[in-house]
Symmetry: C2
Subunit: 666 residues, 2 copies
């Protein structure tokens, strides 16, 4: 029998095959990434390929007409019923008849690359845990009785080489009706990460299944509903974490649990209900039945993690901040109240790094992959609790720092969440001390024509996190606030926007008919506490790593995406660095969840990486306190911030030293 | 260093050990069965041994005083606090100092033999799936953070060589409080059959854990609550299967499900609730917290099996009687509604043999072990559905036969369940045709002095299953009933106890002030149908095996224990055999459940055996119909029953052939 050269593109994998070998068989033998759900029966069309024609000098072959067999009856039927693109063939039907170059189009590849959602997103290569497998199951035979499930398992073993697949009880209930509805042909969703059957469909199912990538934050829950074969995001959405009614930040929720017996269970029930509702909402938005969701990946901080699992987070409220469990978890979705999705659906929870460095930080590490790069990268995920990661290929360090909710607009006199009407960007003229600003919902600055019209609907309602950061930094840059964080008096600053406010001063940012938006001395103090905690955490890791500067700073978190690097550095939130080396990673935790959802190998990778990450506990490190105190100044009491100072000069002002003198005397 | 002979009894295992070797260490190295929960810390006392003294000529050693080390501080403290029996030592503390013979008393052996509950019970050797392991867990360390669960797992691995243990979410919730309550010392219940943690206790737990062996029948649910370290039955009990309200027998329940959408779920909920209530009841009776129950083994017929699992049994109501699943199942107890027992408790469900031959039949095979004997044994488990097994070491065959509930007293005019007041034994004088009988609750026959007094409380309320079998057989032996099953007229029989009853006759067994207990022609017909089904099933297996006689007949089932072999054979329920070869096995299914509960290896054994058993489907076998028809006669139309006829002679009477003639004419 004659052998022919068969070359698959784009992989370039090649081999010699006998006349009559199906293309799918050749692909499998060479390990070429060619999809198939029906296992070569010519009905699923997943294995479509495109043979080349003519001469391929670089590959050293010439493809003659007739290099593949002619359209057979199966392909003709498929083409008539469903339509094949010109030139396309079914890989399981077309057989090799001569030397041939075969292109595997992206949609026929299992491991295709996902189209990015945001420019900052690292690319994802599909390697989904969940795959569909079509099988024909033997009918029951009284003379050799065996269970329908056992014959289904036999079919999966003989037709797909899958063995020992587990199945949950609620899904067992479906086995008999589905087998009969499909006339003994069924499509089985298998979670290969767990070697489990997670859904059953009569006949051939071609509609892709879906998975949820969930970023469960203390304040908001965000989720992407993703197509598990293309990685495409079919719907995205978020909702407030209903646990907020038990406490604004993590520690107040831990306190709630300590003060109220059974309080943790209330919070567990609340968040589980919310997740289930969000799943239904996204399914509705995407126009799919929620039963098509067979997987979810969840990332969250340790307190959310424990509350989700039904574990009292009380130990996370006190040293030594012991986690109940730190390893990644693979659970039945129904175990955590996700009961509206597929009966057999599974949940993967990323591992936690330490008592205060959770699965969300692990997800950031997965998304940003500092372990796969040479530059020393500092990643800060800014939230109520900041997760900080420092490192590169050689070594990775992580800590968490209790920044509090000031960066999210809480504890700020005019603070509010990022919503239309919130001031998000601020500029202050260093001479006139007059501000201009932008609010969420409009691209116009407040001194531009049409601003009033553009903001009429939303109004100007307050300052969000990024707004307050810019406001304070601009006040420092304009000489309104001194290095110690003190707001000057109207006389000292020379502007009527400064107003006496008890024994301190405030800066009037905006005045409307019935609302005044000011930055108060208390606001500055709150921001100073938050930014000192963040800086001190980063600095502690740099001490551990024995460095004084980093090569790259990545601001992660939905909020991090809106922070201006310059203002963050003026404020001293982050260590000094070349401003061009400071970038935003968008919602890196959420993106990490999506990676773990779409790529099974990423799960093993992050589980291994978490073990390698060195955890630094800020709460008890004496140097953390020192760093925290020194970082109180704006930008810093001792660190020179040379990169920043090369870009700008901060006014050398100092207000009200007398009052400090008075304090000392008491 | 000097070596010494160390010989363990009763195993006789011996080896040479250096001076100072702890006895427990020597035992482990030799594979001697010596228990330990605390892992050699001298606190659990499970490893108690008794050193011999003096000369042991058969063993070739002489034990001198001082062959073991002197009592050390740990043993002294233990002895003072808890008391050691004279001569006893703690195996983990006493060290070898000279040649020594060491007796391991039964209570220190894990694999001790269980004391039998009934003479018919096959012995059980303990090899429990659940074992207790005491561990000391490392405290959390902020500098090397890891979850409490991970450190617990590490301790189980380093201290007991156990790795990869799984744990359920509800138990994860307990990890942190239990570790702290026990000051980082905990006792862990591990289910070695599943490599799972099933319960956690602070400090050292010595109180044994318990397991349930459940025989889930269509009519009654029976359970034993067993000590998982000694196998001792701590409480036994039963209750009616509440599914009875949905249908008296299996097929009527399947019909209920077919006629009422969601009806199967109602029945599932009912039986799950009943099981949970029974667990609580038995725990209360034994005076233990129901949370000490960490395991349950369930045996049942396929319809009960499916309804317990939440699978619609509709397929079991029609050919080809396909099971949803036939393999053994390992489930979370909470998955089947056993929520009152330990949070992490597990359930093992024995495998089913075929669509009508369930896990109960598998349990009977396990208990009776025909596969481990040479005689060809016929085992019949009599119930609403009879399970029949035939075979020996060479080959095993099984079938199920739809006997209906007549053998349980249902469909019988005066029939009732076996309860005080029910007639359970009957004798009829062949000359006078006068009966005497015994009722449940008294040892006296009805013609003995004191009978009236003894049965005053219960009254004489009806006839139970064994009573009707004896009554019909005695009627045949006394010439009241002919071979065709026809009751003679008063004139034909010559007794006024015969009464005209429509167009047929009845036999008056007893008459009280307000009640008459008769055996009617319909009763005889019902018993004939039931016994024909049973006989035909047995005969079908004998055909398959190519034999005309069997070596042994075992009557299993709670009811089987009360059947008189002679009467069963006169009736033709069972094939002819030497009467001494017909024995009762008591509740073999329940005993099989208990074996699987106490002996882990038995689970693997029955799973393998079930695959080897050849299943015969009676419902569609044409020969079954032939056998059924021929078996209608009492004892049989054609089989000569030589063994039986050697023991007794049956009157050669034949009544009312005219009426048959009339029927034919219509």
């Amino acid at each position: 029998m004659t052998d022919h050269h068969v070359i698959f593109m784009p992989s370039g994998k090649r081999g010699r095959f006998a006349t009559g070998t199906p293309v799918l068989t050749a692909a499998r033998q060479l390990g070429v990434d060619l999809d198939s759900v029906c296992g070569g029966r010519g009905i699923c069309s997943k294995c479509q390929v495109q043979p080349g024609e003519g001469s391929f000098p670089k590959l050293g072959v010439t493809v003659s007409p007739g290099a593949l067999s002619e359209f057979n009856a199966v392909e003709r039927r498929y083409d008539e019923k469903r339509g094949l693109k010109p030139g396309r063939r079914l890989g399981c039907q077309a057989t090799v008849q001569g030397d041939v170059v075969i292109d595997v189009p992206p949609e026929s590849q299992v491991h295709r690359q996902v189209v990015r959602k945001a420019a900052s997103d690292k690319p994802i290569v599909m390697d989904p845990a969940t795959r569909l497998h079509f099988v024909t199951v033997e009918e029951p035979d009284m003379d050799a009785p065996s269970g329908d499930l056992e014959r289904l398992r036999d079919a999966l073993e003989s037709q797909w080489g899958l063995n020992g697949l587990e199945i949950a009880l609620p899904l067992l209930r479906q086995v008999q009706p589905v087998l009969r509805a499909g006339n003994w042909q069924v499509t089985v969703a298998v979670n290969h990460d767990e070697n489990r059957i997670t859904a059953l469909f009569p006949g051939l199912r071609e509609t892709p299944l879906l998975g949820l990538a969930i970023d469960l934050g203390s304040t908001t829950i965000a989720a992407h509903l993703c197509d598990l074969s293309t990685g495409e995001v079919r719907a995205s959405g978020g909702m407030m974490n209903p646990q907020i009614r038990f406490g604004e930040d993590l520690m107040s929720r831990v306190s709630y649990s300590m003060m109220n017996p059974g309080g943790d269970l209330e919070m567990t029930a609340a968040v589980r209900q919310a997740l289930d509702a969000l799943a239904v909402e996204l399914a509705t938005e995407a126009g799919i039945p929620s039963g098509d969701i067979v997987e979810a990946v969840i990332v969250c901080n340790p307190v959310m993690h424990h509350l989700l699992l039904g574990v009292d987070p009380v130990e996370l409220g006190q040293s030594p901040f012991a986690l109940a469990t730190s390893d990644a978890l693979r659970l039945a979705a129904s175990d955590i109240g996700l009961t509206s999705i597929a009966d057999g659906a599974r949940v993967y929870v990323l591992p936690c790094i330490a008592g205060h460095v959770g699965a969300d930080a692990a997800a950031v590490a997965l998304a940003e992959a500092p372990d796969q790069a040479d530059p020393l990268t500092l990643i800060v995920d800014v939230g109520t609790n900041a997760e900080i990661i420092l490192g590169n290929r050689e070594r990775l360090l992580a800590c968490s720092s209790p920044t509090g909710p000031a960066f999210e607009g809480a504890q700020i006199s005019a603070g509010q969440r990022a919503a239309p009407g919130a001031i998000e960007r601020v500029q202050i003229d260093p001479v006139t001390k007059e501000p201009r600003f932008r609010v969420i919902g409009s691209e116009l600055w407040s001194d531009e024509d049409g601003f009033a019209e553009a903001t009429k609907a939303s109004g100007i309602t307050g300052i969000c996190g990024s707004g307050i950061i810019e406001a304070v930094a601009e006040m420092r840059m304009a000489g309104i606030v001194d290095a110690k964080g003190l707001i000057g008096s109207p006389a000292q600053v020379g502007s009527s926007r400064l107003e006496l406010d008890g024994r301190t001063h405030s800066y009037l940012l905006w005045e409307g008919d019935d609302r005044r938006i000011q930055v108060t001395q208390n606001d500055i103090r709150a921001i100073q506490l938050a930014k000192s905690a963040l800086y001190a955490g980063a600095r502690l890791l740099m001490d551990e790593a024995g460095v004084d500067t980093v090569d790259k700073i990545t601001l992660a978190g939905a909020f991090g995406a809106h922070i201006s690097p310059k203002h963050a550095m003026v404020l001293g939130m982050i260590p000094d660095a070349d401003l061009t080396a400071v970038t935003s990673a968008g919602n890196a935790a959420g993106h990490g969840a999506r990676i773990a959802l779409c790529n099974r190998a990423a799960r093993a990778h992050i589980e291994g990486l978490v073990r390698r990450i060195e955890k630094i506990e800020t709460a008890v490190a004496p140097r953390f306190q020192e760093h925290f105190v020194a970082a109180n100044a704006i930008p810093h009491a001792t660190a020179p911030f040379p990169h920043l100072m090369a870009e700008l000069t901060l006014p050398d002002v100092s207000w009200n030293t007398a009052s400090e003198g008075r304090r000392r005397r008491r």
